[in-house]
């Protein structure tokens, strides 16, 4: 049963020091704010500076700053290159402080402090909740959609004998790091990582018996396309698991979230390169529309809630702060946005949702 008193409050002094730290570092690193480097390797870099190019550069930098201040929604193009840029820049710091898993932890018991184990437990608990292996069959071919540096993939192939995993990410740095870690862990035969777009997966249809998306759905600008691709690459009878941040279900008759709620999300979206949010109910109807079967959903907001406090605490030491400074403005902004995530959870607008379903068997 869900807990009723599940708000998470930061001590005022902790809050203040984090805001001050973020502002200080943000100011210091402000020169970094105006140069996101596109990391896509498929388009050649433009040749440098004539005076008109320089003027264009300044104009676009000002436009970006204005859009940031107004929390304007990002275009799909901006999102794609921005996501790659953000994760290229931020993944190393995250890994240094938190390790190879870039997702929430499973906080039962609520006050556990073994955060890395909590993250590993989350994967296991999700698989258990989704009923993977209940019928005696374990997955053999797994796709990890939005794989980060591959923590889930490597854990899953270790867990299930004979399983192989393909992970896709927009970030070349992450794919590289994923393959490196697989090699270090003796899993390079079992898990491999590529740079690819979840909305256009480079795999034939009907390939994977487990389609896994852990905290990547938030980045997908077209939820319908995302869901359709997940179903397409799933093998007949295969299982799809989506674990993602959503906004709360709308009440019957409610056309949209309140302005206040939208404002919190808009600010988070700028920082984390996220498109508009949807609800778990939206995912369920998209899956229904796409022909998925045995759809099941759950809200684990209260189980993962202690994670954000832990992340914020972890950023308040010298090593993390120095790392933050080195990683640049976008990472610093990402750190500041953690406060907003906490606010969103406390306000009941942000939910941590689980959805699973199967593809129709032939």
């Amino acid at each position: 049963a869900a807990r009723t008193s599940d708000t998470l409050k930061l001590k005022p002094t902790m809050k203040l020091s984090l805001v001050l730290a973020a502002l200080l570092l943000g100011n210091f690193a402000s020169t970094q704010a105006f140069s996101p480097r596109p990391t896509s390797t498929s388009s050649p870099a433009p040749l440098a500076a004539s005076s008109s190019t320089a003027l264009h550069g300044i104009r676009s930098a000002v436009a970006r700053a204005r859009d940031s201040l107004l929390s304007r929604e990002r275009t799909d193009e901006d999102l794609k290159s921005g996501i790659a840029f953000f994760y290229d820049r931020s993944s190393k710091l995250w890994e240094d402080v938190w390790g190879e898993h870039m997702h929430h932890g499973y906080y039962i018991p609520e006050d556990r402090t073994d955060h890395v184990q909590a993250q590993i437990d989350l994967i296991d608990e999700v698989l258990k909740w989704a009923g993977v292996g209940d019928d005696g069959k374990t997955p053999k071919k797994v796709v990890d959609v939005g794989c980060g540096i591959g923590g889930s993939s490597r854990h899953i192939v270790r867990k299930y004998e004979g399983a192989t995993a393909n992970g896709i990410t927009l970030s070349p740095y992450q794919a590289q790091r994923g393959n490196e870690l697989a090699k270090e862990q003796g899993l390079e035969d079992r898990a491999s990582f590529q740079v690819a777009d979840a909305l256009n997966q480079p795999f034939p249809s009907n390939t994977f018996d487990l389609v896994w998306s852990l905290e990547s759905g938030e980045h997908m600008p077209d939820k319908q396309k995302f869901v359709n691709e997940l179903l397409r690459v799933a093998a007949p009878g295969g299982r799809i698991i989506i674990v993602t941040w959503c906004h709360r279900d709308l009440l019957p008759g409610e056309p949209c979230l309140s302005t206040k709620e939208e404002k919190i999300l808009a600010k988070i979206n700028r920082a984390y390169y996220l498109p508009k949010w949807c609800s778990v109910a939206d995912y369920v109807s998209l899956l229904e529309k796409a022909g998925a079967e045995n759809i099941k959903r759950e809200d684990w907001s209260y189980i993962i809630a202690p994670f954000w406090k832990a992340v914020i605490k972890s950023s308040l030491n010298l090593k993390s702060l120095v790392g933050l400074l080195k990683s640049g403005f976008s990472t610093i902004r990402g750190a500041y946005a953690m406060l907003l995530m906490l606010k969103g959870f406390n306000a009941g607008v942000i939910k941590f949702g689980l959805i699973t379903c199967t593809k129709k068997d032939e």
């Binding site: 896509s40 390797t41 498929s42 388009s43 193009e77 794609k80 053999k140 071919k141 004998e161 004979g162 192989t164 393909n166 896709i168 927009l170 070349p172 794919a175 590289q176 393959n179 035969d189 491999s192 990582f193 590529q194 740079v195 690819a196 777009d197 909305l199 256009n200 997966q201 480079p202 795999f203 034939p204 390939t207």
Partner: protein, 133 residues
């Protein structure tokens, strides 16, 4: 990128009929030596598209030092029983081509449209351009 990975990749550019299997253009290739894990290989074989694997081997073999040993011209890998009966030499060669050959730099080329996907540092970049979606 190993041939095992290549076996599961296809071009999904808008309007592409099949996009599979991708042709391989080699710039740099590495060969390593890893021990054969027989049960893992036998588990995996039914999932492999064998004709695609064979074509890939033919495309890259000349770039490998030493050159890759031949794998059978035809093989019904979905037949688990006959897989069990494959001789050790064949299994070793299959293992080698699936796991031990790494394309470090090169291109994956769509058989329908000729679209080239780059492979850099062993990682294929399958992201489409705006006009290909």
């Amino acid at each position: 990128m190993r041939l095992l990975t290549h076996n599961f990749l296809r071009s999904n550019v808008k309007g592409t009929e099949n996009g599979y299997p991708l042709n391989i253009e080699v710039t740099t290739i590495n060969c390593e030596d890893s021990p054969l894990d027989k049960s893992f290989l036998l588990n995996l074989l039914p999932k492999v598209n064998y004709p695609a694997l064979r074509t890939a081997v033919q495309q890259i073999s000349q770039h490998c030092v030493p050159p890759l040993k031949e794998i059978p011209e035809q093989l019904d890998v979905s037949d688990k029983e006959s897989n069990q009966n494959l001789d050790h030499e064949t299994l070793k060669n299959l293992h080698r081509v699936l796991f031990d050959v790494y394309l470090i730099e090169g291109w994956l080329v769509c058989p329908d449209t000729g679209r080239k996907f780059p492979v850099k540092d062993g990682i294929p970049n399958m992201i489409l351009h705006e006009d290909e979606i």
